[in-house]
């Protein structure tokens, strides 16, 4: 985990990464299938994976005994704030799981966002979103297995030869499914499309190619959903649809 909070009544004699979290908030559920991110790697049996998801049951359990709790952060954020900004929702849900009172979460949101210079109207919307997510999050008492204390196995990293920090397998960005970053998916209406190529030219990620008739073909595995094509299309032949798919 690279962003985290430790809460305790006694002095905390730890620093840095958290290896045995009781709660992991997954703000983008596509990360669950990401081989680099591995967000649940250190979650112990009984730990809660609090997942921002627009589908599936609220509660389920995986084979490792992780409790999946699915709360929809994105759609309420789109409805209330108008943008898929879900930090406040994530904080509210996690805080409720930790047993923090709503009033304290409200104070914290107010203080944090005021310090950032957020204008009053946006602050109020964030508070509404916080309140809704807090109420929508079920109370749940977390019971995790004891902290794993394994014996440490130290090794000598000596390799006996020169090792270069070079990447020989270059040109590998194509393997990364950046399409998972998308909140909205651009969809071409081929009945309207005239094949003018404007979307093809404007796509900053070269995720649009042209077919034999010069009509755009969107590479959804790599389209990040910036929606520049939707804006640039001179005849409004590209629309945006809320994305809930995962590209593993």
């Amino acid at each position: 985990m690279t962003a985290f909070t430790r809460i305790s009544h006694s002095p905390i004699m730890e620093r840095g990464y958290i290896f045995n979290p009781h709660i992991v908030v997954v703000m983008d559920e596509t990360l669950l299938a990401d081989a680099q991110a591995r967000p649940l790697e250190d979650l112990p049996r009984g730990g809660v994976a609090l997942i921002n998801s627009a589908r599936g049951p609220i509660f389920s359990e995986d084979q490792a005994g992780h409790v999946f709790m699915r709360i929809n952060f994105t759609d309420p954020a789109l409805r209330i704030i108008g943008k898929p900004i879900v930090s406040v929702s994530a904080a509210a849900a996690a805080a409720k799981l930790c047993g923090l009172r709503k009033q304290h979460v409200e104070e914290a949101v107010r203080e944090e966002l005021s310090e950032l210079g957020v204008r009053d109207e946006l602050l109020e919307k964030n508070l509404m979103l916080m309140s809704e997510t807090y109420d929508n999050t079920p109370r749940y008492s977390i019971k995790v297995d004891e902290e794993r204390v394994g014996a440490v196995e130290l090794v000598d990293p000596a390799s006996g030869r020169v090792v270069y920090s070079d990447v020989f397998a270059a040109g590998n960005a194509v393997h990364r499914a950046t399409g998972n970053w998308r909140v909205f998916r651009p969809v071409v209406d081929y009945g309207k499309c005239t094949g003018c190529k404007v979307c093809f030219i404007y796509c900053p990620d070269s995720a649009i190619s042209l077919d034999a008739e010069n009509k755009p073909v969107i590479d959804y595995e790599h389209c990040k959903g910036c929606l520049i094509c939707v804006v640039e299309c001179p005849i409004r032949a590209i629309s945006s649809v809320r994305e809930v798919e995962i590209f593993a």
Binding site: M13, E14, R15, G150, A151, Y164, F168, A169, N172
Partner: protein, 410 residues
Amino acid sequence: MREVDMLTGNVAAAWAARIADVDYIPAYPITPQTEIIETLASWISQGLMKAKLVQLESEHSMLTAAGTASLSGARVFTATSSQGLLYGFEMLYNIAGWRAPLVLVNVSRAVAAPITLEPDHNDVLAARDSGFIQLHAEKCQEVLDLILIAYRVAEDHRVMLPVIVNMDGFYLSFTREPVYIPSKTDVEEFLPPYNPPHPFRAGRPVVKGAAVLGGHIYAYFKHNIHESLLRAGDVFKEAAAGFREVTGRFHSPVEGFLLDDAEYVLVVTNSFTSIARKAVVRLREKGVPAGLVKLVMLRPFPSSDIMEKLRGRKAVAVFDQNISPGLGGVIYNEVAAALYHVKNRPETLLSAIGGVGGKYTTVEEFEHVFHMLMHPEKTQPGKPVFLFRADELAHVQTALRLAGYTGEET
């Protein structure tokens, strides 16, 4: 602002500059330091601080501006990290030689290549011979406190040298902890406005940084820097006593933890001290007489305090979060030199290198170091132990495989 707040190390540093009422802040952004400058810039734009903040075109210009502004009589604060510190490196020696008592916060980050953002102390320790005083923080509170103490020591007319206050990137810079913020009135008492001994004034020209050809003149001034830096150790203790009166918090160049009857002692610096403390506590629970020595002050090197704290111990390990390639740990060698003249010095002095590039060092790894101290027959005298776990090596091998490395490339 409440008296205690949850602050990152970076914001704690900014608060220290704010309550120290600094006049001038030359700046240049670099991760993980940038938040300090952003915070100060925001306060200045809101009228909460009276200082002038200028963004220069590089760290070299930034440090030049910092040193020269300090000579004009301004109280100067600046901050950088890693490559930035090295880019401005030659100016560090100038600033010390000019006797410009500014405070520079270094937010530690390992030096490229390979490039990373996470901390080790090869950046700040590269500056150990520059003539700067060096104070290293374990916690966000110490970042704030040490900066305030740093100004008092730097501007003392018996010292007149600049200070680097070091904090670890990420582990402190982006970690929020409860931090007590002293009131401005308290600090005014502890840290009166800077009284420069020879400021530039209209009608009273002064040449600063004059050329001194001939060798012996240079040697004379260099010795004077050394002598003043050594004096800074005692001035720090005086200042720390004054700081305690004002805030109730005590800081010393060398701090002991569960040390009284300790036979096995670990010497550490910076934020990993917190994890090492936990190892000590866990060993104590099992009846092992373990203890810890934290070095807050790296320059002047607190040799006599170290001698006093380590004499008579059975075995001592020095944890270096740095590596001097071809030698080993920097601090180990300095501690070894300090102990040479101690009659009943520890029989075993082990060098443990860990946390390089921010490599996480677990409490179990620190416990392992203690176990090595308890069984020195299993160690090779003089050979540093490079703390590296089997699972980490496996991860490196996976990364090399993904990078297309077959081992045939050599």
